[in-house]
Each structure stands twice: as structure tokens, then as C-alpha cells.
């Protein structure tokens, strides 16, 4: 079975650092024709803007060609074709598969039946490892290091897969976490127990103002309507936090605000032009990191 990237646990600390290094090379030299003649499938069973476009751009910048679909409407999946048959067929056509699927575990399953590497571009609320790697890349880029940082995660810590994966990946680098969330969206106990087991310190709060001034990274998240079965519950929490420029007067000079995007109201647009806003650059970094992931899995870096 070729090496795939399905969950952030699939990469060791060394591999994570290696990806970040190659990504930095790609940022300096944005087009490298190392995958000329290769074909990459981007198959998206669920909508996406940034992830799909950045994977496709990353493939193109490496010189590979891209095939795929961005929704299942005009594919044989509407005829009832199984995921297994779709993956078996696609993996015979291409050199690497990037896939997003609404069902959790779909990418793991695909990686076990495909003859080529699979990159998980999101499987429901489960894993989205390329997002985690680009978050790490952005943290390292803004702070000059990954070790001993205070990371304040804000918003939907219950359903937010980026939060869960990022805290697991950061655990390699002796972090100190703040978890800022409404009671309804607190970090699940399994993750807190996991952090306890690793001896990683964290504090929990409901107040965004509590730890704005002593954090190195504020990691804002959107409350994702699509994860709620109860819309009343969603209405209660959707606008719980709003980060505004006026709240940033006493933050640390090195502090940066990250957000996996898309954002709704949780970051006011007046924050965009401050030196603390880093989410657009973070999204750009996604392309370099995805170039690095593809090149690494295909054995070119």
C-alpha cells in the first residue's frame, strides 16, 4: 500500500517538519516542473472552494495535470456506484488521488483499496490533515518557531475538526493551550484527557477577552451550521464571539490571528488591515503546503 495522508497521525514529527521545510522551498520558488507527465485526481464528493482550488493549483504548479469532479451531480455516483468502484477505477487512471467526502472514514477506506497514494482533503467532521499542516506552517512562519507557544483556540471546539487535529499536531512542540468557547461548544473530554496524558497545560474560558493579551496565536473558527442537527442550538451560539480591531490594543506584538476560513461574523472586517490578521496569507500557504504533500507522497522530495 503506498504511503497516504489521511489523518495527521499518519505523519511523524520528523515528517511534519520535513513537509514544512519543503513547503518553504516551494514558497520561494512557486513553480517547479517536477511532476511533468503525472496526473492527479481531485475528486470532491462535497463542496469546497479553498481546498479544491489550492490542491488543483498546487498540482498545476508542480507540472502535473488534474482530472476530477467538484460535485457528484454529473458522475456515476448518482447511478448508485459504490465508493469502492469509483476509487478502484480512478486509481487506475492517475498517480495520486486527492479526495473529500462527507462520510467519516471514507478517505481511510479509499487509501486501503487504491493502488496510488490518497490525500484526505476532508472526510466529514473527522480529519483534514493538509489544513493542519498549513496551520503549523503559518504558525512557524509568524513566530519563527513551533515550540513553547501559547495557542488560543476560539469558537466551535466541539465539532471543529481543524481544532482537534491542530492540537494533536502541536502536541509535539510543548504548547500551552487556551480553549475559548461557549459552554455548548467546549472541547470534548476525550481531547482534554489526551492532553492530560501528555502533560500539556491548558485553560478553558468562555470570555474571549480573558486571553487575548497573552496569546501568541489566536486561532478563530467558524461555528459550522452543517454540523448541527438542532438549528435552535446553532442560533444560540453562531454569533457568540466577534473579534474586533478595538480589542487588539494590548495584544503581544508577535500575536497573529489565524482562521481556517470561510469566516462569517467571528472576525470583524476592520481586523483585516491590522498587522495581526494572517488568515489570507494562511490560505495562500495552503498551496505551498499542498505542493509539499503531493511531492513528498510521490517520492519527489
Amino acid at each position: 500500500m503506498p504511503k497516504s495522508l489521511i489523518s495527521i497521525h499518519d505523519f511523524s514529527k520528523e515528517e511534519i517538519l520535513h513537509i514544512l521545510e519543503i513547503a518553504a522551498e516551494f514558497e520561494k520558488n512557486k513553480s517547479q516542473n517536477i511532476l511533468a507527465g503525472k496526473v492527479i485526481a481531485c475528486i470532491f464528493f462535497e463542496p469546497s472552494t479553498r481546498t479544491r482550488l489550492s490542491f488543483e493549483t498546487a498540482s498545476n504548479r508542480l507540472g502535473a495535470r488534474v482530472i476530477g469532479f467538484s460535485d457528484t451531480g454529473n458522475t456515476s455516483i448518482t447511478k448508485g456506484e459504490s465508493l469502492k468502484d469509483t476509487i478502484k477505477m480512478v486509481s487506475n487512471y492517475v498517480d495520486l488521488i486527492v479526495m473529500r467526502h462527507p462520510l467519516e472514514g471514507a478517505s481511510r477506506y479509499a487509501s486501503e483499496i487504491a493502488s496510488v497514494p490518497v490525500v484526505n482533503a476532508g472526510d466529514g467532521a473527522n480529519q483534514h490533515p493538509s489544513q493542519t499542516l498549513l496551520d503549523l506552517y503559518s504558525i512557524k512562519q509568524t513566530q519563527g518557531k513551533l515550540n513553547d507557544l501559547k495557542i488560543n483556540m476560539v469558537g466551535d471546539l466541539k465539532y471543529g475538526r481543524t481544532v482537534h487535529s491542530l492540537l494533536q499536531a502541536m502536541s509535539h512542540f510543548s504548547p500551552n493551550f487556551v480553549f475559548t468557547s461557549p459552554d455548548e461548544l467546549m472541547l470534548p473530554s476525550e481531547y482534554k484527557e489526551w492532553l492530560d496524558g501528555k502533560g500539556i497545560p491548558y485553560t478553558e474560558t468562555r470570555q474571549l477577552s480573558d486571553h487575548l493579551n497573552d496569546s501568541d496565536i489566536i486561532y478563530m473558527t467558524r461555528v459550522q451550521q452543517e454540523r448541527f442537527t438542532d438549528l435552535m442550538e446553532y442560533e444560540k451560539v453562531k454569533n457568540f464571539y466577534r473579534l474586533e480591531k478595538s480589542m487588539l490594543d494590548n495584544v503581544k506584538p508577535n500575536m497573529k490571528i489565524l482562521h481556517p476560513l470561510p469566516r462569517l461574523n467571528e472576525i470583524s472586517t476592520d481586523v483585516d488591515d491590522t498587522k495581526y490578521a494572517y488568515f489570507y496569507k494562511q490560505a495562500e500557504n495552503g498551496m505551498y503546503v499542498r505542493m509539499a504533500i503531493i511531492a513528498y507522497l510521490l517520492g519527489y522530495k
Partner: protein, 159 residues
Amino acid sequence: MENLSEKHLKVSAIKNGTVLDHIPAEQLFRVLDILKLRDCKNQITIGFNLDSKQYGKKGIIKIAEKFFEDDELNYIALIAPKATVNIIKDFVVVEKKLLSIPESVIGAIKCANPVCVTNHEKIQTSFRTTVKDGEVLLKCHFCEKSTSNKEIQIVTNNR
């Protein structure tokens, strides 16, 4: 050696095979399912709601001419950890097996996560087990979510 052919037996003895005893009555049918006995062609005698000092009501299953792998039997530990397993040869108990929680569980139970891919495609389920505070947690190999042994559902053919 204990002789099972005593006259006060409520469920008739078998000559050769496996006897699963001390199953809590409410778990009896799940034990049948976890061992896939609905499809079994062997002679099976089942005692249900028998009086038991330990449980009040217990179940007993006797399967003639069938001997399970330890891995299969250990699945019972997930739903009836105090069940006993006796191997019978010529009406005599020749071995009592101790159940232990299996490290992995393949195919026998359903993932409790409704949006797990295994509940939508024909995929054999796969779990790793961990024990925490006396509760067994089964972590799905695919969706990475944990199911408690208290809420597990067994894969049956008529689901």
C-alpha cells in the same frame, strides 16, 4: 471432571461441542449474533430466562460439534464479560476457557457513528479496544470515533 449429564439439567446435554453459560438473559440474543450463530447449521439448544443466583435470569447456549477460535469467543467479553465457556467432549467438560477483552474486533459490530463510511458502504468494520474505568471503548479504524461497549450494536444479516 464435572459430568453434565445430571438429571436436573434444564437444557439437554450435548455430547461434543461448546457450552456458553452465565450469559445475562438480556444479552443472550446479542451473543448469538456476535458469534454469527443465526447462520449456523449445527444443532443449538438455547436456554432463556433460566433462574440464576448471579443474574436473576440467565441464558445458556449449547452448540453441538462446534469449537470456536479464542478470538471469536473473546468477542463475548464485550457484551457478557462474566460468561463462561465450557468445551465438551463425550459429555464431559474438558476445558473451561477464560474470556478476555480482544485487542481488535473485526466485522462483528457496527460503528455507532451514523456518518461513518462503514454504515453506508459494504465495508467490514474494524475497531481497536481500550479499557477505561471498567468500560470498553472501541475506536473505529475508519472514522476514528469511539463506541462504548454499552452501546454496541452487532452486525446481523437481518439488520
